[in-house]
Structures are given as C-alpha cells and as structure tokens.
Chain length 189, copies 2
DNA sequence: TCCAATCTGTACTGATAAGTACAATCAGAA
DNA sequence: TTCTGATTGTACTTATCAGTACAGATTGGA
C-alpha cells in the first residue's frame, strides 16, 4: 500500500479548507477522506482523536501562521500606518477579500460542545493584544479600543461579504479602515 | 393524542433558538423534536420539507421581525441620532449583547449547499438599504458606505463577543458606533 | 537481505441521521 | 352525536455517521 503523505502536517491545509467550506459539523469523515485522499486508517493514524483532533491541529497551525505572518510583522515596523497597511493587505489576501471564511470566527459562532473555546479566544486575544501594543507604541489614545475595532471590522466584513457574495465590500471596508487609522495618527501629532 | 401546538408558527422561536445554538448542521431532528416537544410526525406535518423548510420559515420570520422592529422604526424618526440610538438599543437587546448568535450571519458563513443564499442576502440588503436611506435623508455624505459600516460592526461584534465570551465588548462597540455617527452628523451642520 | 516501525485500505461495529408509513386520537363543524 | 380533517406518536427503512480492528504493504535502517 503506497504512502501518500509523509507527515500529518501535509494534510492540514486541506483539512482547514474543508472545515472552512462545510463548517465543523458539516465536515464528515467521508468528505475529509475524499478531499485528503486518505482512508480512515490513515486519518485515525495521524489523528487518533478523530475530527476534534484534526480541527485542533488546524487551529494551532492557523495560530502559528498568524503569529508569523500577521502579529510579528505588526511590531517590526515603527510606522503604524505602514504596519496597518501591510497587515490589511495580508489579511485581504488570506481571506480572499472576504470570500474565504475565517475558521476561527466560524467556530466562535458555533462551537460544538465548546470544544475549541480556549483556542478561539487565544487567537483573537493575540490579535487584539498585538494591535493594542502597536497603537500604544505609536502614541494613539484608546489603543485597545482601536485594536478591538479593527478585528471587529475584519470579522464583520467577512460575514457580509459572504452574505452578499460581494468581495468588493470587503476591500472597501479595509480601505476605509486603513484611512481612518491613518487619519487618527495625523491627529495625534 | 393531545394537540400541543395550534400552528406551526408557534414552533418558530424554539426552532430559531436551536439553529442559533447548534448551527444548521448541528441541529438534528431528534434535538429539534426534544426542544419543541413535537414528534417527527408533527414536525413533518408542519414542515413537509424537513429541516430546510424549518430554517426557511425561521429566516422568513426573522426578516419580518426586523422589518417591523428595526427597519420601519429607522425611517419613522427624522432625527438620525435618535433613530440610530433606538436601533442599536433594539439590536443589543435582540442579540443579548452579542451572546446570541445572528442566525443569518451564521448561515452566511456556512450555507450548506447554498440553500439560503437569497434569504440571507435579502436580509442584509434590506438592512443596509434602510440605513442608507436614513443617512441620505439626514444629509450624510457617503450614506451607503456608512450603512455598510454599521452592519459590519454589528456582525463583527457578535463574532468577537462570542469568541471572547465578553458581552461588554459588544456594548462598547455599539456605544462607540453611536458616538461616531452622531459626531458625523454634527459635522454635517 | 531482512526486520521493525510506520503507513494504508477494507471491512466491520453500533449509533444516529433523515425521512416515510400509518394507525390512533383529537377538535370542531354538521 | 357523528363525521371529517387536522394532528400526533410509534415503528420502520435506508443511509450515513464516527470509530475500531486488522491484515497487508511500504519504507528505511541494520
């Protein structure tokens, strides 16, 4: 029997896409098996805990990705306008202008049996805290408030873009958000 | 066999709560049967189309409720600050400060087989269009943009509040939103 | 070459899913 | 009262679910 994947890590992107597309409950093992090309034997070999463990692994990978590609760069730059612009560009690409569901947000709305509470809250806390630090460094008043606002608009933008099938909406929201933050910066000077 | 409900309308609030709590896929018929106190016989008698018809009926009732309690009052008042304040109060009560999931938003993120696209988009279009009209009447610039922004913040607020189990977040967002809109109004004069 | 650990497919279990069939029961009209 | 149509519970079918068991295949090292 030929080997298909070397490590379970290789399956995580596919798993993530399935969970995003069908939701946690809608993602059945047969669907997962079809999408990954792995039989049940392999799936349970890599994830003895079944679907819950798959979702946990996916969430952890997502958090790591955000840590590397979103959070860390935010604090690298000294110019907040530049940092925010860069972040929103990455965010737009990652969520495909809101057409791609945020799995963490989706699990926030519907977490079966509260399995993923801690991972979900850690993700959003991390994001908000990093943004807060950025805004504090830049001398903004109400830094944490603004940080909260940014994440709210991203999540809300995804919901509305999905609802209206209108990626332009997401792009428009992100653009306006950027302008508002930059305008606030100028007022600080 | 005793009669339990007079009309299928009576079951809609319970059905709505189930779908909100467990999501469309997570709401099994046995769960629905338990929550409503109706056996399968009754459920299929009222909703021959099964779960999909239940969800459709719920969505239609939600839309009607918003039409009456949110959209119509928005255009009744001439003062936009007053109208927005009233709306946000109703919204906060309805979504229980973000602790209660927006079923339409939840279906926007995960619509199994795109069953509810038209209902979902109609709901959000109605909301945005009404707000746009309000802002236009009040002489705001970028009325439709502001309308979009309001709905985005409500949906995003729900996601984050659910994620962080922090209803204060939702209340804070709504309060800031209100202030921002009122500030914009004053700038128009 | 051969062996042990890793990987994989198939076949199975028991539970639960949606949906159907139907007889029993009810309420209200005649 | 009696009848009719609306309502309800139970039992059933069929499909799919998650999860287990296990034998066969593969790989890389000894």
């Amino acid at each position: 029997m030929p080997r298909i994947v070397a490590e379970r890590t290789d399956t995580l992107p596919t798993l993530a896409e399935i969970f995003r597309e069908y939701g946690y409950n809608g993602a059945s093992l047969s669907l997962i098996s079809k999408a990954t090309g792995l039989g049940k034997g392999s799936l349970y070999h890599f994830f003895p805990g079944g679907k819950a463990e798959m979702a946990t692994a996916v969430l952890e990978e997502i958090e790591a990705w955000f840590q590397t590609n979103i959070f860390t760069p935010l604090l690298d730059t000294s110019d907040p306008a530049c940092a925010i612009t860069e972040m929103l560009d990455t965010v737009m690409a990652y969520f495909q202008s809101g057409q791609r569901v945020c799995l963490v947000g989706s699990l926030a709305l519907n977490d079966p049996e509260d399995r993923f509470v801690s991972l979900v809250s850690r993700y959003f806390e991390g994001w908000i805290n990093t943004l807060t630090q950025l805004f504090e460094n830049a001398g903004y008043v109400d830094a944490s408030d603004l940080a909260e606002q940014v994440v709210v608009e991203i999540q809300g933008g995804i919901v509305l873009t999905r609802a209206l099938h209108n990626p332009a909406l997401f792009q428009r929201r992100m653009e306006k958000l950027k302008q508002r933050i930059i305008a606030l910066a100028e007022r600080q000077d």
